[in-house]
Symmetry: C2
Subunit: 349 residues, 2 copies
């Protein structure tokens, strides 16, 4: 009956542009009594890993603004996908000691997941016969993995011999899109924001990669894809999108997955897309989508797990160690500082 | 063996921005000997009607620029869809006296259609049991009609109870889209560029219409579609598109049919689209398309002809009388002067 420390990542203020570690996101101790805290028929987890992803910027908003994902609550812990170990359970689905992945859970040392939220989230015991890193189950085999599955097979429909261009190719989604498309016989072009990232992306098999901080996307695509591109996997919007619309071939497909260029930029200062006409004259499909984890998670696991188990794929995680690093880890995503899937490791086991 | 007058609309110069009647498009007499002119196994038509459409701006270009439709040839007649009466035939498909619609034929008093081009165009004897105006077969039941058919049933997939917004609602495509959607139980909002057009569009059954020269599309959509729109039929791009992306509901569809705002505007001065992120967060589909007349013409005729025959639909044609009016008729499209389907009537019969 003694409260223990429970450091938590707290959403402190709504950012106007880029979130800052000391101002908008702060670690605070919110002590918890592990024996007596109400768990509302659900579970109490010791949190091992938390996933940080670009879409979280959209949740740091004025709650009066509607969007597809709920706003974060001021002075409450940030929540995101977590992996944890069950230390108390009132739910028949889980027992003490189980390793559980939960899409949506507080980013803290300990997390209560009440039973009533189970139907609204994807929460399950981690099934890990190939002994993959547990962090994969909220990353490459989590929401980003499901995003790739849904965008590739339901929108892009890649065909052998085609060329795909992937922006943010060193990011979690980009690395996976590129390697799957290589495996399916496509030519794969990518962009990344540093020399180190460009080298890495080349090393995992991309046919051509450019540093968008040193070369305009339009120039790079002329150089690397002289016969045009058939698919553009868009994680960034802005100049990349405009260049892709110029380079795209007839009946091209654009997977509108993200526009990180716009997330922290006020409307007036955004890069407006001036070549919309290309969508018409080249019969281009642009399809936006929000990942449906609940609907596609199982299918994704079945398709992607063997690829990771085979050792065929190489993926990079950017692991921040300890809850104290949480603000730095999250803001790093929007500054382009992170490299691969951003993971906060809170505890070993 | 005597040449007769054959006034023809000649493409004289490549316009940088708006084409002008005296500079880029001029009527010249190119006399023709109707008895001896080579018709290359095809037909010689006395031309009755020619269709003028917005896409023709894209053909007035430097021939080194590739696009989906062939460039016009300097000092040669402009070509477009025509209706004519066969006055000579070497083709088994047609006999003298037949009324023929031909997608692509010179805009002149007389037109030779060589047999070798037949496979590349849609050319057929007009079947007109309901005695509809012959001009319909290159207009509301021609390429624009086929455009509407393809865009609505293959992209927009309208459902009863939904709301559609149609830009250029007084144009040939807009009038038809709106009336078909009304018939299918949708709420229909439109924009037009004059008081007279707005009144007309209301009179054919649109639920709400605004004059985009007097009210910003964004303000108008808030006023006329407070619950948002489900489909945007885009004929113009620019500010209209940006407003539609704000107003569109989850899983909305945008039929990218035209962007007349951009056709005569140099790249730098175009209205850049700054709210691309809406495509992502609302899972919007944007599908560009070029009408496939050959593939959908028959299906369109079967679906739309009864609607016109029933008298249920009201459509407006803007008919210019006489080949001498050809330049004025064509440039009028890009200035927004024309009202409904632009038709050049060259002869009565």
């Amino acid at each position: 009956m003694v409260a223990v420390s429970n450091k938590s990542l707290i959403f402190k203020a709504i950012p106007e542009t880029f979130p800052e570690a000391s101002k908008h996101l702060i670690v605070e101790d919110r002590p918890i009594d592990l024996d007596t805290v109400h768990i509302h028929g659900g579970i109490l987890l010791k949190v091992l890993y938390a996933s940080f992803d670009p879409y979280m910027r959209g949740r740091m908003r004025d709650p009066s603004i509607k969007s597809y994902s709920p706003p974060m609550t001021l002075n409450e812990p940030v929540d995101s996908a977590i992996v944890g170990k069950v230390i108390r359970s009132e739910a028949p689905e889980f027992k003490v000691g189980d390793i559980v992945s939960s899409f949506y859970g507080p980013n803290a040392e300990y997390a209560v997941i009440p039973y009533q939220v189970f139907p609204r989230i994807v929460i399950r015991k981690v099934h890990n016969p190939h002994n993959l890193p547990l962090s994969y189950f909220i990353g490459y085999l989590g929401m980003p993995g499901t995003t790739v599955y849904q965008g590739l097979y339901e929108i892009a429909k890649p065909k052998t011999g085609e060329t795909i261009f992937v922006s943010s190719a060193a990011g979690a989604v980009g690395q996976l899109v590129g390697q799957i498309c290589k495996a399916e016989g496509l030519r794969v072009i990518g962009s990344a924001g540093s020399k180190e990232k460009v080298e890495y992306v080349k090393s995992i098999g991309f046919d051509g990669v450019f540093n968008y901080k040193e070369e305009k996307p339009g120039d790079a695509l002329e150089r690397l894809a002289p016969n045009g591109i058939d698919i553009y996997w868009d994680n960034v919007g802005g100049e990349h999108l405009e260049a892709a619309l110029e380079a795209i071939n007839k009946s091209g497909r654009i997977v509108a997955c993200g526009s990180i260029d716009d997330y922290n930029t006020p409307f007036e200062r955004r890069h407006g897309i001036k070549n919309y006409i290309q969508i018409i004259v080249k019969s281009v499909l642009v399809q936006g989508f929000i990942v449906d984890v609940a609907g596609r998670y199982q299918a994704m696991l079945e398709r992607f797990t063997p690829l990771f188990a085979s050792g065929k794929f190489r993926v990079k995680e950017d692991i921040y160690e300890g809850i104290d690093k949480a603000p730095e880890a999250l803001v790093g995503i929007f500054r382009g500082n992170n490299f691969g899937k951003t993971i906060l490791k809170i505890a070993d086991r």
